[in-house]
Structures are given as structure tokens and as C-alpha cells.
Symmetry: C2
Subunit: 256 residues, 2 copies
Amino acid sequence: MTWRTTVTLELLPSPIHSTQRGIAPAHHRCDDCPVRASALCGSLNDEELVSLNRLGRRRIVQAGQIVSWAGDPASMFANVISGALKITALTVDGREQIVGLLFPGDFVGQLFSDKTQLTVTAMVESDLCTYPRSAFEAMLDAFPRLERTLLQRVLASLNEARDRMLTLGRKTAQERVAGFIQYLAMRSGDVRADGTVDVILPVNRTEMADYLGLTIETICRQLTRLRTMSVIAFGASPRDCRILDSEQLDYLANPI
Amino acid sequence: MTWRTTVTLELLPSPIHSTQRGIAPAHHRCDDCPVRASALCGSLNDEELVSLNRLGRRRIVQAGQIVSWAGDPASMFANVISGALKITALTVDGREQIVGLLFPGDFVGQLFSDKTQLTVTAMVESDLCTYPRSAFEAMLDAFPRLERTLLQRVLASLNEARDRMLTLGRKTAQERVAGFIQYLAMRSGDVRADGTVDVILPVNRTEMADYLGLTIETICRQLTRLRTMSVIAFGASPRDCRILDSEQLDYLANPI
DNA sequence: CGGAACGTTGAGCATAATCAACGACTGTGG
DNA sequence: CCACAGTCGTTGATTATGCTCAACGTTCCG
């Protein structure tokens, strides 16, 4: 049994045929929320959480479904409980750029602004904990620690956005692709006994291209190149990636 | 007297031979601060400003001088009183991307984070109102309105950063250059009686290239192209730009 | 079996980068 | 005063990187 034939996709539900349907109960318990520690709510104590609890509604969005449209009034705010979403910007003639990815613990939504130029789409079935925007803004007034945590998150997002500007403005295709795999490995890679690292790509080739400002063909060619160089290998699915040579990958992502 | 020969550079002090030297008095009056309305401090009342006043120090930085180095401990926070600065990110081999421009009323500095990967450099002689980072963070605790204003600013910067990702990842050289001139016109253009708009480019060609993710030669060729098409014209200096055909410029920036 | 979505590979092309030369302007020092 | 160096901006010739267009393979369902 080789890596190439036996490894299966575990982390991500298939985008095509998700089985779960329906809407979670209106009120849920924050106590056993899987992202309580990592989400914004982590800055609140049990007592304060009760207020939030009353406001929050669970919402399950299917793969491909749009959560928030560019140009729409920004009326919602939400925490991601599970799944994966993309934030995209579009040119008038339809070229797409993914400007951010959202995973469990991240938040969605424009605050203090009536319109958004961005679209949020679920890439796989995702579970959101949503609040009316105005109610959440009121919570920020009431709980300074919540606001401070939000500020820190937004500052971190801004730093990440600026780092991505360097990638999009100045890096070659090879550096972008190698750097993306490296970033995913750092974020959620599984280091194995022999030093190789398993990474499940959370996006398909098209999304990878839209994230890195390249075309799908260029993504494929660069991945093939990395595979030919034995820097990475693929498992059963083209989303199961194993890093064979982290040092070389780092060099390709950040040459001299 | 034609536009091409008579218009002079007014807004920006020459980057080469600035005459003013020295350091402003340690304590200044916020009352007659030129950016009081537009800077973060605008959210404070007169009484609260007294506390800030005690902490702030004026600092004049010369053109080309670095205010904050990538990798340095982030110990300073400042408001821009006058001038223009750039925030840059660098690849390991020295390619540069300008990830943000700073003008009077904007703030400089990393908060709640011990290191920064970004470098801030004065493009022309600039006047800053600086605070020790820790002291400013304490002010945020004391004055919730200050923190709220900061949060709104950072959210706006994040939106701008994401918009720039679309430019850097998906737009052509023509769209980038036309869009940049359009952006400057919207921000600080001077509309004339005949409908043309005067814009003083706050950056030289190299900085324009580093901002738009292009080379200096491509910038020149695109500007020449716009000039040949009579969409823009240049005055005495290559930084004095006049928009002759705003409609066409908009079409070139956002085709179909 | 057939269609749809996704992924890969090839051939040719176009956009922007690279390399090079030159003009305008400014300040410096002989 | 003029020669010179330095910076900035412009233009030309050539190249290369990544895009476009096209074909085809695989997988998964209906």
C-alpha cells in the first residue's frame, strides 16, 4: 500500500454531495461550542456569554452557497463553527481574487459600514453562529474585552493582508505555490515520524489560483514541477499533499 | 503660458533639499493641531486630550529616513501631522512592495504585537506626533471612544488592503495605472472649471511601481500611453498630472 | 453508459520584465 | 564657469513568464 493510493480525504466534507441538511436549534449552548476558545467569544466569561447566547443563531450553509453579497447591506455578523469559506473581490468583468479564507474560529462580516464590496462564499458545508450586526455592535459597547479582542484580530488580519500584497505584487508563480503549501503546513500540517508533513489542501485548483493571483493551469504546472522535483507528493486525491523536503520547499518559497 | 510649462509643485516639499531642520518643542498644543479633526485624536474631547498631550512628542523625519524597521521591536505609535510615508514589505532577495501609503491624519505603528515585518519610510520630510506604544495602549483602555475610532480605522484599512489585493492579483498594468490616478484624484484631486482635474502624484515613478506591483519602465509606458490618448497631461514636473478625460480614465481603469 | 466537475498537459502567444541607452535636471567641486 | 556625478524619467529591443486555447484523463454519480 503506497501513499499515492491509500490515503483518503478526511478533513473536508465533499463539496458536491453533502448529506447533512436542516437548521440547528435556534438557541445552542456556548459551553460546548467547539470554537469557544479560538473565536472572539473566548474573551467573554460565562456570565457575559449568556447575553451573546440569546442573540446567536446557528446557520448551516451548503457548499457553494453565498453568505454575503458584494453591494448588499451588511446586516450580518457571524463566527465560523465549522467548514471553510472564501472572501472574494471581483473586477467588473468577472475576474476573481480571493482576499481571505475563513476557518473555524474566524469571523465573517462588515462592522460599522453599511455596504461591503466583498462576497463571502462557503467552499464546503459550513456551520455559522450568526448575530444581527447591530446587536453585535451593541455587545462591543457593553463588553470592552470583546472589542479589544476584535481589534487585535482585525490588526492581525491587516498584517496578513499586507503580507499577501507582497506575494501578489512581487512573487513568481513558483514562490506563490511553494509559499502557499508552506503556509498551510504551518497552519494545519501533520508532521510525521520521518519528518515529512501531510497537508490537506482546503481548496481546489481553481480556488488556489484565485487565491494566488494565477491561473489554474499555472497552479497545475507548478505543483507538477514540485512533484517532479520530489519536494512534494500527492496521495489518493489531488488535495492530499505530503511535503517530502521541507528545506527545499522553503528555499523555493523564499529563494536567496 | 501653457499648463506644461507654468505649473509648479506646491503640495510636496522637494525630497532632495528640504530646508527645515531640528525638533519641535516636546509639548505642543493639540488645540491648533492641523490634523486634530482627521486623526484618531478627533474622538477625544478637550479634557481627554490633555492626557494625550502629555504623552505626545513631535518628531520631524527627513525624506528617505526610516521610521520603523522590519524585524525591530514595535515600540512606537504616531500620528502623521504632515508629509507622506510608505509602508513596505520586502522579499528576502530585496524586491519591494509598498503595502500602504500614509498621509496627514493617518497613524503609524504596530499595536499589541512585539515585532513588525514592515518598514515605514518617509517619502518627503514628515512631521509625526509620537507616543510610546505602551502609553498609547493604556490610553485605549482609558478612552473607549478612542479604541472604537481606532477599530473603525483598522477595519477601513483592511477593506482597502483587500481591494488592493484584487489590483495586484488580477488587474493589467493599464488598469493599475489608470486606477491609481483615479484613486488619487478622488482622494485629493482639484476639479477645475472646465471639468479637468489636477492631481499631484505624491510618489515618484519607482514608488508608483512598487505600489502597483510593476516595474518603473511599465509605469512610464502606461503613463505615456495615457498621455498619447489625451486622457491625461503632464505639467512642469512629471508629478503634476491633469486628467483631461475622466470618463475614459474610468473606462481604462474598469473596462467593460 | 453518459454527463459534469475537476485536474493535467501541450502549443502558441501576449503582457510585462529585463537590459540598455539616453535626456533633463541639480548640486558639487575643480 | 564648466565638467562631472547622481538621480530621475523616458524610450527601444529583446526575452521570459505566465496566460490562452485546446485536448484529454479521472472520478463520481445519475
